[in-house]
Symmetry: C2
Subunit: 198 residues, 2 copies
Amino acid sequence: MKLYLTANSGNSYKVRILLSLLGMPHERAFVDTGSKAHKQPSFFALNPRGEVPVLEDDGVVLWDSAAILVYLARKHGGEQWLPVAPGPMAQVMQWVALAGNEIQFGLQYARRGILHGRWTAGTLEQGQAMARVALNALELRLKDHSWLSLERPTIADVACFPYVETAPEARVPLDPYPAIQAWLARCKALPGWAERRM
Amino acid sequence: MKLYLTANSGNSYKVRILLSLLGMPHERAFVDTGSKAHKQPSFFALNPRGEVPVLEDDGVVLWDSAAILVYLARKHGGEQWLPVAPGPMAQVMQWVALAGNEIQFGLQYARRGILHGRWTAGTLEQGQAMARVALNALELRLKDHSWLSLERPTIADVACFPYVETAPEARVPLDPYPAIQAWLARCKALPGWAERRM
């Protein structure tokens, strides 16, 4: 199993968290985005989006972090991280979708703009407004639940964590969201949770 | 089973397509977005995002179109529209994720901006650039496959269809994408495929 990643990518971090929770040995291939390695034909052959992460395993190539979480959870996690019953599975995928929508295009893009000057999908204010939609949904859920989808941690929590934790770097303070702050701490306290820094 | 929707929402259309393919009877509640009914407390109680579609069924409330597709496919479609084996399930979810990411924030947002003057996540040019990332990925896959994920239609095709079909309304012509055009026609020819117009 080979994971293409960068050290700073939050979407790669999602995959590292789950691999660590599952205790899965894997090879890591660091993609040199500084020299645009992810925009070369050899990388586009792996991932038509030209982004990390990408997972290769047993001839399967997956180029979307949500799909990689689904794959690893189903293959190596039994029903613990992604149950297959319709209701619970959909409850998990709902928050995984939020991680790819408002969290990605709100929190991640605003942070990326601030840190790297890349504004490819709206202004800081637009990103922050979208971020607040996501954070309000999270806070509402977490006010009276420990985890996002079920009564235990799932890939929903893994998928939402990386860019919610860095919300302050998108200049969206987490002070108004005490339930989110407590949830971030619960996530980090899970046995096997991966450090962000590599 | 009750679906909250609007007649013009492409995300609602995804759900209508799958319900129609599955032949599932259901109640429809049209949300009057013109009077901002989706931004009222009663609707936020159903969906903290304040958007359509929302599905209510047997006490389960789902407020994300991808999650609703997962739910319906798992509950009423056996393994036909969403298999549970790790590789095939992840292959399906990868394209469902693309539908919620580049297709949503590229094709849908550019179209919405043009049609309704709402530019909440970037300019027309930014939306079109993101749209082309998605369309290039689709075209590459569809050049030598009939369907997006597997050798049969799945919720991946259902999820990607609505805003790819309306790409020209986002001023992204589909002429450079013959495989996508053929796929759109194959989708519409499936027995039970729902009409866009209600």
